[in-house]
Every structure is written in C-alpha cells, then in structure tokens.
Symmetry: C2
Subunit: 242 residues, 2 copies
C-alpha cells in the first residue's frame, strides 16, 4: 500500500492547471503569448476566480507564467501536462562566501555547457551565437565597457545550444543570486572588463568544435569574474575600515 500516492483531498487547482496545460498545448501557445483572462477561465472551467488565481499563483511561483496588472497573464516558458517541476530553495547571503559559491557552481556548469555546445552546434546554431557575440562586442566598443545585457544574451545562447535546458535554468538562478546582492560591483569600475577577449576565444573554439578548448576558455572567463569579485571584496573591506 505504500506505493499508493496520498492523493490530495482537494485537487481543484491541480485540475485547473492540467486543463490549462492542455489548453496551452492544443492552442500551441508559445512563451510570450497571453493566456485567457482569469475571469474567462473561471467561467469556462466552472470554478471561482479565487481557485483560478490560486492555480496561476502556483505557476507564477514556478516561473512558468508572468502576471501583469492591467494587461494580462503571459506564458514565460513552455508548459505541457507531462512536465514535472522541482523547486529548489537555498539560503544565500550577500557575503563574499555566498557569492563565491554561486560562482563555483557556474564554473562547473559553464565549462560543461561550453563543451557540449562545441560538440553539438550546427551551422545555424553557430550563426545564432555569432550574432549575440557581435552584438556584445558592438555594445562594448560603444560604451567602452561590458554591457551586462548583451553579455548575458551571449551566454544564454551558449546554454541554449548546449541542448540541455537545465544549464540555462540553473546558471540563470546563480546569475540572479549573484546580481541581486551585487548590482553595483563594489568599487570595481571595470567589472567584467577583463572577460571581454575570452568571449571571442570561446566562440572560436565552438566554431572549431573543440570541446576541450571551449571548456578551457569558459574557465578562463569565469576566472576573471572571480577575480573581479575578489577585488570587490577587498574594496569593501577597505571601505568598512574607513
């Protein structure tokens, strides 16, 4: 009897989510598309708007959906009925240790993603990455410094081409955790500056389908970020003393 999953006594919202997932599938909705109104769903599914809202709140918490007051509810990721979600929560302070820990995870995953990307990138994927790279380089020269947005787009492209969506999901979370506490790199004016040349080097290794080379360049890139963090931590210490 232990295999018997304890069923939820009340499963109204789950039912709503299943129906909604089917709707998304049937309708072929893509990320960015708008879902039906809460009021419409409530009427169509014959449940109260409260229940619909609880269900959507669940999806919102899982990052599947985004709600914009006055506008509507929008799909943020591909959803289908046979997906399973594994929320993971951890404490992360703004101390040097925590930031370094997110970078340790990134170091491991960036290297692997780069290697897989080099193995799997076809011509179309390479063109896609090249586009992001050039946008980043252009922004760099225009502002005489790293542009976090274009830089991030380049990295996202690599995760995407790796063929494993988990890389993007996990690294994005690390990235967000990192920048939540360090939006204005403490006293490090040229934050990320040193990483610039490694982007093209990484791209070249990917074009050459050189997995080990790509891994090495990704490691060098992350190493510059770790350096920046160390410098920032040193600055912070000085400021504290002052």
């Amino acid at each position: 009897m232990s295999t018997l999953q304890s069923i939820r006594p009340t499963a109204r919202d789950d039912a709503v989510l299943n129906v909604l997932a089917d709707f998304v599938t049937v309708e072929g909705l893509q990320p960015g598309d708008r879902l039906p109104t809460e009021r419409v769903l409530s009427e169509r599914l014959k449940v109260s708007r409260t229940t619909v809202r609880e269900a959507l709140t669940r999806w919102e918490g899982l990052g599947l959906v985004e709600r914009r007051q006055g506008s509507g509810t929008y799909l943020k990721a591909a959803v289908s009925r046979d997906m399973f979600h594994l929320p993971l929560t951890f404490a992360s302070g703004n101390d040097f240790e925590s930031l370094m820990q997110t970078l340790e995870i990134r170091r491991a995953l960036e290297a692997e993603a780069a290697a897989l990307c080099a193995q799997r990138a076809g011509p179309k994927e390479i063109a896609f990455i090249r586009e992001k790279l050039e946008a980043m380089e252009e922004a760099f020269h225009a502002h005489a410094g790293m542009s976090s947005e274009e830089d991030w787009d380049f990295h996202l492209a690599i995760y995407s081409v790796s063929g494993n969506p988990l890389f993007g999901q996990i690294i994005s979370a690390m990235h967000e955790a990192f920048h939540r506490f360090w939006e204005h790199p403490l006293g490090v004016r040229d934050f990320g500056h040193a990483s610039f040349p490694y982007h093209r080097a990484l791209y070249d290794r990917i074009v050459a389908h050189d997995a080990d080379g790509a891994r090495a360049e990704a490691l060098k890139l992350i190493a510059t970020v770790e350096d920046d963090l160390r410098r920032g931590a040193a600055n912070l210490k000085t400021a504290d003393i002052k």
Copy 2:
C-alpha cells in the same frame, strides 16, 4: 537605466512572505512545526485572508510548507528571508533524453565538487568520507551489489566536504529527478555495479589532495552510470519491439 529592476507595483503577498519568514526565524520554528492560522495571520498582518492564502500558496508550490485541511499549515523546510528559489522544469517524462540531461548536470557538478573536496578536506573530513566509503563497500560485499543508500551517503559526504552546500542541493535534485523517472532501472540488473571500484579511487585522490585526479575519477564514475543508462535504454527499445 538598464540596471533598473522593474519593481512589482503591488507586492502585498511578498511583504506577507517576508514578515512570515522573519516570524519563523524569530520564533525558531523547525520543519514540522505549525504556523499560525490563516485567519490569525490575516488579522495580525492587517491583510485579507485572500492575500495570506496567495502568499502561502506560493510557499506551498515551492515545497516550503504543507497545508492540511482541518488541521493547519506546517513548515516543511527551513525558511529564512534571504532565501533563493530555483524552480527546475523537466521536459516530458520517461524518455532517455531527460535522464541523460540530469546526468550531464551531475557530470559537471560531481567533478567540480570532487576537485574542491580534494583541495579542502582536512583530516577530520577525510575520516568522515572514509567512514562512508567503508560502509558502502561493506554493503556491496554483503549484498553482492551496489546499495543505493550507502552509495548516496558517500557522495553526499563529498558534496558536504566541498564546503559549498549548493553542490549537495542541486545534485540531490538531479538525483531525485533521475530516480523519479527511472525507479526500476529497466532491465539493468547490476545497475551501478561498474562504478564500484571508482569510489575508492576517488577517495584515494581526495586523501592525496589531488584535485585533478579526483576530478578524473569522478568523471569515470559518472561515465559508468551513463553507460548503465544507455544499456537500459537499449533494453527498453528491445522490449518495445517485442
């Protein structure tokens, strides 16, 4: 202005969660403890029960809390204000692809964790790992096969000694996802058998503080699991044809 984070116009439920997180911290509540009633919270926080419920629904979706009708709401995990959520979404169920994707993440993280572990393990930590290793080896000889529980304990010890709790949490999530998809290794009787010798090899590299060696052994270990998975997939295919 790109650094300007778009703030949520209305953040009542977020505020509720923050206050509640503080409450849990101050009160020293542990997993299993009961939270105040929705009605009490609503009154104390001067917000409607609806808002309290939306907030708790978020936490429930994140697995932080469990609600039992007629009984109350119970803490399921340690919560604090500076907590980070990483919702992972896995593509459709049972296919070989999903399993392999969890292993790709593990490969990257296992290798890095092993390397860090080799760098950072002191005498006490090494003794701790040795204990787990010997328990695993004993179980192996007793049952003439890998014991998943002792095996997992050994790996957990390594993640723990790495000094970065993120390794243990993320890899555990991958592990759970893997086994949810594949509870009964399809037709692979000696699942994990091939990985046995690499455990001691990995331990030896850690004792020697040989980071690169530890990384290499961890990679070999994961490679055997990938092999098992491939064999299982082949079996499955045969079964399908039959």
